[in-house]
Structure formats: structure tokens, C-alpha cells
């Protein structure tokens, strides 16, 4: 692999992104409000101020799996001579444009590795996701800002986890050192003008080392698949860990690995779309059947399913892969501070003794 390492000085960041965004759609983390900490990925526009020293409130999931997207369009057509006959025409969504996600964290990228299994591993392949995923590059940044909710190291990732990324960004005192991790990265590297000096590379190395030393989180997940199944019927346990759940959708909406969606039709006059939109397994309506029956009627079953899905069902289905990236967003944003680490950690053990 061509290992030419590039450098972007702080004051050159925007001009570098200006150049890249002429070629690709670029998504960058920006604060959506002054004084506030709500940081989201947004399509890059010249002059934007990036926020690269905080984890984003929402990961870049929406870039590949938008909160709402059309699965196809439909049109009812009427012919003038035979108005009682209306014919439907279907049209697939437009193919995606090449896209770069700039400034994501390793945990954010890890999320996509989970989604890839669901959407692309079969038996059915979601071509809409797959096409967009195919077109998306990740310029990921080494993570140096963990807080008390982070636990990426516990789920097989970490602040320096490069898996799934195409470019690797290391912030140093003067700017950003950028390395290519995949062949797909080369065109982007070519648009970066300044090569990194040895000093830059050495400084980056120190940042990497420092970050790599961080053990973020100490959750043990190796046995959780079985422990979960043993705990499944222990209502007291689930009452203990999720009794306070409000059944809102925050944890799922901010989660990089949550992908569940709803499909609905929206139509105006004779034209419409079948859309998918993020859904949440925390919602009552998610599993509500037409008959009125609901297999997961209360927040306890729903929270249990969420834990089970991430730490038991998913690894069972996908070769041990935990469907959690340890980003801590669900913990940090939970209105009642439910801690999924605690729910998983305490799965083992006899009685529902947890604290």
C-alpha cells in the first residue's frame, strides 16, 4: 500500500475539505448551536467550523442509513380515455453519490460493521444500503476524549481501532496527520496537498500510543450470550435493570448499531413513496400486531430484547459479533441514566444481585 502520509494544518482544514467536497459529498461533525454540545454530521459547506474534539451526539449512521429514505416511488397514472383504469408505475431510488465521512470515531465506524452484517450478509441483500455503503469512505480520527460512559475497548474496539476505516486521522499540535488505510482512500489522499513531515509522523505516533494505552471500559462480554439466555426469564432482574425505562427511543436513535426501521407508504394525490424510517424497539407499536396482541407489551420485554439483540441474538447469528460499539451514547443520553453495561455485566450470577 502506498503509505504516503499527508498533513493538514489546522488553518488548511477548510481548504482541504473544499477541494475534497468538489469531488465527493463530504459529511463533517458540526455543532448545531452555539454554546451547546449538540454535534451532528452535516453535509460540508465551505466555511463550516468542524468540531473534532468531542464525540458527536449522533453518529454518522444517517449518512448511510438515513432516518427516512424512499425504498421506491410509485405513481398512479390514469389514461384519459379509460379513467376507471389506474395503473401503478414503480421507480427505484436514485443511485447514491460517492461520499466521505470525515472525522468519525472508531466507535462510529464499528457501528457500520454491525449494520453491514444485517443489510449485506444475506440471505436477502438490501441493495439500497449496500450501494450507499459501497460509495462511502471513512476518514476516521483517533479518539482521545473518552468519558465515563464510553466502553469501546470492552466490545473489541478501542480508541485506535482502524477496522473499517479508509483514512486515519491523528490530531497533533499543528494539525492533522492523515494516513490511507485502504486503496479506496488513494484519490482522497491525492487531493491533500501537503505531505506529512517526519516530525508530524512522530508526533502522531505519540498520540497514537497514548490513545492505545487507554483501556476504555471494563465490561466482560465473552460469556454474555449464554448468560443472557439464562437470565431471560428472570423478571426481577429485568425489573431491576430497566424498571425505570421510559420507553423513549433515545438509546436506539443515537446508537450506531441500531438499525431497526419501519416501512410506511406516504402518498399525496396520486404520487407517493414507500419509505423506511428509523424505528425503535423501545416503542410499543414496534411489535404491535394487527390483532392487538403484542409479544413485547411492556418496557421490560423491550429493554430485554434490546440487550439480547446486541449481546446474545446478534452474536449467535453473526459469528460472535457483538452488536454494540461501546460508544456510550445510550448511557449518556438516557433520561433516567440506564446503564447497559450494568445490565450486561450482571447477567451472570445467581440471584439478581446487582449493584
Amino acid at each position: 500500500m502506498d503509505t504516503a502520509i499527508k498533513f493538514i494544518a489546522f488553518d488548511q482544514l477548510n481548504s482541504a475539505l473544499d477541494r475534497i467536497s468538489e469531488q465527493l459529498d463530504v459529511w463533517v461533525p458540526v455543532a448545531s448551536k452555539d454554546q451547546k454540545r449538540v454535534i451532528q454530521f452535516a453535509p460540508y459547506r465551505p466555511g463550516m467550523t468542524l468540531v473534532l474534539d468531542h464525540q458527536t451526539t449522533l453518529g454518522p449512521k444517517q449518512v448511510v442509513l438515513p432516518q427516512v429514505e424512499a425504498l421506491f416511488r410509485f405513481d398512479y397514472r390514469k389514461s384519459a380515455d379509460e379513467p376507471s383504469r389506474q395503473k401503478v408505475q414503480l421507480e427505484d431510488p436514485h443511485p447514491p453519490a460517492p461520499t466521505l465521512i470525515f472525522g468519525a470515531r472508531p466507535c462510529d465506524v464499528k457501528g457500520f460493521l454491525v449494520l453491514d452484517q444485517v443489510f449485506s450478509a444475506g440471505p436477502f441483500v438490501d441493495g439500497i444500503y449496500a450501494a450507499r455503503r459501497e460509495q462511502t469512505l471513512f476518514a476516521t480520527m483517533v479518539c482521545g476524549q473518552q468519558d465515563s460512559a464510553c466502553f469501546c475497548s470492552s466490545v473489541g474496539s478501542g480508541p485506535t481501532d482502524r477496522t473499517g476505516s479508509d483514512l486515519w486521522i491523528t490530531p497533533i499540535a499543528a494539525g492533522y496527520v492523515v494516513e490511507a488505510l485502504s486503496d479506496r482512500a488513494h484519490p482522497v489522499m491525492a487531493w491533500l496537498q501537503e505531505a506529512a513531515t517526519e516530525l508530524h509522523v512522530a508526533a502522531a505516533g505519540k498520540v497514537q500510543e497514548e490513545a492505545a494505552r487507554q483501556q476504555v471500559g471494563n465490561l466482560a462480554v465473552d460469556q454474555c450470550q449464554q448468560h443472557f439466555l439464562q437470565r431471560f426469564a428472570d423478571t426481577n432482574y429485568w425489573q431491576e435493570v430497566a424498571g425505570q425505562c421510559l420507553s423513549c427511543g433515545i438509546c436506539t436513535f443515537v446508537c450506531p448499531t441500531c438499525y431497526c426501521f419501519s416501512i410506511t407508504d406516504e402518498m399525496k394525490d396520486k404520487h407517493g413513496e414507500r419509505i423506511r424510517s428509523w424505528d425503535s424497539c423501545m416503542f410499543f407499536t414496534y411489535t404491535l400486531e394487527a390483532s392487538g396482541h403484542n409479544p413485547r407489551p411492556s418496557r421490560l420485554e423491550r429493554y430485554r430484547n434490546r440487550v439480547g439483540h446486541k449481546f446474545s441474538y446478534f452474536p449467535e447469528k453473526y459469528q460472535g459479533l457483538i452488536a454494540c460499539c461501546g460508544c456510550g451514547r445510550c448511557i449518556r443520553n438516557c433520561p433516567v441514566s440506564i446503564d447497559i453495561r450494568k445490565a450486561v455485566q450482571n447477567l451472570q450470577g445467581q440471584n439478581h444481585a446487582c449493584s
Partner: protein, 276 residues
């Protein structure tokens, strides 16, 4: 199914609508693209997502057998938004169909065995496809008994076919919940009739489909009569959206009803997490 877009239905048109009961209609549909129709193959028990564009999709078993290919048949009970709209459709109207989805019945393992179908109300639909399939290959199977119950005689589907079933040597036991003027068949709930009939579990497979409360008591009854879990087959209802194992909601533990089901043996169910 469209390879790149598993959510995109094939267009089909309604050839005929049959009013089965006050709130159940049967639709007979054909794909508009002749090659799709020609190449379409499925197993009995597999399901389809039926769309009314602008309203949405809903899941129905294809209740015509794979052996009869002039149309696909769906029986639709009016319960919600989509089914309400489906009930307003007429012959000639267009619908979308995504099929086949799900696993279907393991009929290969039923060959040479006696078969017991136990159905309640609209639950007869998935049984019908397998029943007709077996009738079309009658020699492959032993005795066939059908216990079919509904609330009133007017709530029984496929009444117009009962004669044909019986002519094909099916032991058809019909029951309704309460006495009804002019009703000459059995009266009583399906589980009661089952215990009265008490079919032998020997070399027999029982296939059960109906409302949850009926299934619950039928399973209990079958157990009492000595049926093993592996001899009892049922189909699950679950809210489905994508139908292709992606959207997430129809899981029972690690299994997705839309791809791993909807047909499960009681054996399989007992190995899954208890969240029905």
C-alpha cells in the same frame, strides 16, 4: 423478488375477489409480468407481502398450493388500515406482491405419515395450501383429518370446497362455537372436538393454526394425547415489515419469523426464548 431492492414488489392484478365471511375476503391475483408468473415457485406455507400502494403492506400466506399455478390466492381478514383498503379492491385493481417469503412447511418429512390439520377461523388459510398440495399428491400421504372450527357457520372459509376435500378422502370435522339454526355438524370449541376425536399420535403430524387462545389449548390437548413436540407444527403470527430478515421487529430470540418461520415445530419453539 428484485435482487437489488428486496422491498420493491412485483405488480399483480386481481383476477377475482371472493367474499368468504363478513370480514374475510379471498383475493386471486396474477403477476402482471408473465415471466414472473411463469417462473414463480414456492413452498406451501410460504408467505407474501401484499401491497396497496399508498396504504402499505401486510403479510399473508399464499393459500393456493404450488401445484395449482393459475393464480396466487390470499385470504384477508379486515382488521387494520391495510386490510381495510384491501377489502375495497375489485377485480382488475392492481396490488404489489413480494413473494415467496419465509420457510414454508417441511412437507418432505410428512410424506408417508398421517396428517391432522387443526384450524380455527382465518387460521385455515395456511392449512389450505398444504392440504391442497397434499391432495394433489394424495398418494404420498396417509390419512388426512381436518378439524376446522369457527364462531358460527358463517365464519367458516372455503365452504365451497368442502365437498371436494371430502371427495379426496379427507376426514373433515367441522365445528362451531354455539348451536346455530340449521347447523348439523359439531358444536363446541376446537380443543374439545379434538379430544372427542382423539386421533392417534402414531405416525401422525399435527398442523395447527388459529387464534392464540385456540392454539394454546390445542397444543395442550395434543400433548395429552401423546403427540411429541416434533410432531406438532404451527405457524406464527408476528408483526412484519420488511419480510426479509432486516428490519428487526419479528425476532424471537435470534430467529426471525419472516425468514426462519412462520412455520415452526413445537420442538423448535421450545428451544427458542419464550416471547410469543
Amino acid at each position: 423478488m428484485h435482487a437489488h431492492n428486496p422491498y420493491r414488489p412485483d405488480l399483480a392484478s386481481i383476477r377475482e375477489v371472493v367474499q368468504e365471511t363478513a370480514n374475510i375476503k379471498t383475493l386471486r391475483v396474477v403477476f402482471e409480468d408473465e415471466s414472473v408468473m411463469h417462473n414463480f415457485s414456492f413452498r406451501p406455507g410460504q408467505v407474501a407481502q401484499l401491497s396497496v400502494f399508498g396504504v402499505g403492506e401486510s403479510t399473508f400466506v399464499i393459500n393456493s398450493p404450488p401445484t395449482r399455478r393459475e393464480y396466487l390466492q390470499f385470504s384477508v381478514m379486515r382488521v387494520g388500515e391495510v386490510t381495510q383498503r384491501i377489502h375495497q379492491l375489485n377485480a382488475g385493481d392492481q396490488v404489489g406482491v413480494r413473494a415467496p417469503l419465509g420457510n414454508g412447511f417441511d412437507y418432505e418429512n410428512m410424506q408417508g405419515k398421517d396428517i391432522l390439520f387443526i384450524g380455527g377461523g382465518i387460521g385455515m388459510a395456511p392449512l389450505r395450501t398444504l392440504l391442497l398440495f397434499m391432495l394433489d399428491k394424495r398418494e404420498d400421504y396417509g390419512d388426512i383429518m381436518v378439524i376446522y372450527g369457527a364462531r358460527t357457520p358463517h365464519d367458516l372459509c372455503y365452504q365451497y370446497e368442502f365437498d371436494q376435500w371430502q371427495k379426496a378422502n379427507v376426514n373433515l370435522v367441522l365445528t362451531v362455537d354455539n348451536e346455530f339454526p340449521g347447523w348439523k355438524e359439531r358444536v363446541g370449541f376446537v380443543p374439545t372436538v379434538l379430544s372427542e376425536e382423539s386421533p392417534s399420535p402414531h405416525n401422525r403430524v399435527a398442523i395447527v393454526c388459529g387464534p392464540p387462545i385456540m392454539i394454546k389449548f390445542v397444543l395442550f390437548g395434543l400433548k395429552e394425547q401423546g403427540f411429541e413436540d416434533s410432531q406438532i407444527i404451527t405457524t406464527l403470527e408476528r408483526r412484519m415489515k420488511c419480510g426479509v430478515g432486516i428490519c428487526g421487529r419479528c425476532n424471537i430470540g435470534a430467529k426471525y419469523v419472516c425468514v426462519d418461520g412462520p412455520v415452526f415445530s413445537r420442538q423448535q419453539l421450545s428451544e427458542m426464548v419464550n416471547e410469543l
